[in-house]
Subunit: 270 residues, 2 copies
C-alpha cells in the first residue's frame, strides 16, 4: 500500500472529536479515517495531567496498530497536555488542536483581541494563550473555562433557554473585552456554535478545531504530501471503548451523518 | 479487632457518594469510614452495564482488601446494575441505594404517587420502579432522567437561574402527576435539593440516599449488630483513582466538611 493511501487516525476522549472528523471528511474527501473515542473513560477535561497522558498513549497506540499515516489528536485537553510526548513516541506526524487553532485565529484577528474557551484542563494549562503570545507578542488573550458546555452539547440542548443563560454567564465578559475572534477550544463546542455566536455577537469569528486542522494539513507540504490523490477505497471505521446510552444519536449529531462500522474495544486491552 | 470495630467501606463512581458519607457520619458517629471514589473513570451513568459491572467489582475489591465489615454502594447507577453480583461475590453485607430509598419512600408516601429522578442508566434500568411496585403494587411511579444535574452539582451552581430553568424542564411534569414523594436517585442530587424542592413544591418529601442507607442499617438487626458500640479510633480515609482539578473544593461541598487523608490509587492497579 502506498503511504498516501493509508488511513488517517483520529482520536478523542469521547465523541467530541467527531466534529473534527466531520470537517475533515468535508475538506479531505479522498481520505479514509479511522476514529477512536475513549468513551469508557470520558471526560478527560477534569482529570490530572498524568492520567490524561497515560490514556492518550493508549489511544494513539491503538491507531498506530491500525497502520495510520498520521494521527490527529481531536481533543484539546490531550493536545494541551500530551502532544509532545506523542510526537516523540511515533514516527508518523501527530497533529494537535492547539497550533492549528492558534494559526487560524492569528490569520483571523484584526484588533488583536482573541478569546479562548475550553475545559478546565485546557484553560488551566494555558495552552492557547501560551502559543498565541509566543507567535505574536502583540495580542490580548482572554481565556475562560466553560465546563457545562460539554454535557449541554451531549444532551443536544442547542437551542434551550438554559443554554443561552449558561452561555451568557460564561461569555458575556468577552463582550467587554472587544474580541473579534473566539477559539472554540473543545471539540464539543461547535455543536453549540449558534448559541455561542449569538451571545458573543455576530461580528466575532468562531474558530473550530476541525476547520483549523484541515487547513493546517493542506498548508504544510510534508503533511499535504501524505494526502491521497484519489479516493481511498474502504469505509471509515469508528472504534469506541464503550457504547453508552444514546451513543448513536449523539454521535450522529456530532458527525452530521449516519454512523456505521462502530466497534467496541475493551479499554483493558488498550 | 472485633468485627464491629472494623471500618465501613463506601464506594462511588466519583465524589457524589460523599453526600452519603456525610449522612452516615451524622447518623452513625461511632463508625470509621473508608471511601473509594473512581474519579478517573467517572461518570458511570451513561456507560454500558458490562463496563459498570467490571468497574464496580474493582472498586469493591479495593475496599474488601481494606478489611471492611460492610460495603455501601453509594452510587445508584452501580446499585441498579451490579448489586446482586457484588452481594454474591463477598461474605460481608453489601448495601445498595435502591432498596433503602424504596423503603423510605414507601414509608413517606400517602397518596401513592412517587417520582424518581436519576441518571440515564438508573432510569433506563427501572431500578426504583421495579422495586417500588414489587413491594407495593398499588403505586403510581413516575421516572425521569436528569443528566445535567450531575455537572451542575459539580460546578456548584446550586442557586443559578440556569439550574432553575433546567430543573423546571426536567421536573415540571411531576407537578401534574401530583407526587408527594420524590426519590433523589443519584448521590449528586442532594447538592441541588433546594432547587429541586422549590420546583416540585414544598409539600413533596425528598428522599436522599444517605439518609435512607443509614435508616436501613439501623433498622436491620443483622446490620445493626455490626455497628460499633463506641467511637472507633482512627480517621476516616478517602481514596480516589484521580485527583481532578478542583477536587478538594467539590469534595468538601459534597462532604460538608474539610477532607483530609485523601490518597490517589492508580486505576490500573485496581
Amino acid at each position: 500500500m502506498l503511504n498516501s493511501e493509508k488511513p488517517i487516525g483520529v482520536f478523542d476522549s469521547g465523541i467530541g472529536g467527531l466534529t473534527v472528523v466531520k470537517k475533515l471528511q468535508a475538506s479531505l474527501p479522498n481520505e479514509r479515517i479511522i476514529y477512536f473515542g475513549d468513551t469508557a473513560r470520558v471526560p478527560y477535561g477534569a482529570k490530572s495531567n498524568d492520567t490524561i497522558t497515560e490514556y492518550a498513549i493508549q489511544d494513539a497506540d491503538f491507531l498506530i496498530n491500525k497502520n495510520v499515516k498520521m494521527i490527529i489528536v481531536a481533543c484539546n485537553t490531550v493536545s494541551s497536555v500530551a502532544l509532545n510526548i506523542l510526537q516523540e513516541r511515533y514516527n508518523v506526524p501527530v497533529i494537535g488542536m492547539i497550533e492549528p487553532g492558534t494559526d487560524l485565529a492569528l490569520s483571523s484577528t484584526e484588533n488583536k483581541n482573541i478569546g479562548v474557551i475550553g475545559t478546565y484542563s485546557t484553560i488551566r494549562n494555558k495552552a492557547y494563550s501560551k502559543m498565541l503570545t509566543a507567535k505574536n507578542s502583540d495580542l490580548n488573550v482572554f481565556e475562560k473555562a466553560c465546563p457545562l458546555f460539554v454535557p449541554l452539547a451531549e444532551e443536544g440542548w442547542t437551542d434551550h433557554k438554559a443554554t443561552y443563560l449558561i452561555a451568557r454567564e460564561y461569555l458575556s465578559e468577552f463582550r467587554e473585552k472587544n474580541i473579534d475572534t473566539l477559539i472554540l477550544g473543545c471539540t464539543h463546542y461547535p455543536i453549540l456554535s449558534n448559541v455561542i455566536q449569538e451571545v458573543v455577537g455576530e461580528d466575532v469569528k468562531l474558530i473550530d478545531s476541525g476547520t483549523a486542522a484541515a487547513a493546517t494539513i493542506e498548508k504544510h507540504p510534508e503533511l499535504e504530501e501524505l494526502l491521497s490523490k484519489k479516493i481511498v477505497s474502504g469505509n471509515h471505521e469508528y472504534y469506541v471503548s464503550d457504547l453508552p446510552v444514546k451513543f448513536k444519536t449523539i454521535a450522529e449529531r456530532f458527525l452530521g451523518r449516519t454512523i456505521e462500522n462502530v466497534e467496541k474495544i475493551d479499554p483493558e486491552q488498550l
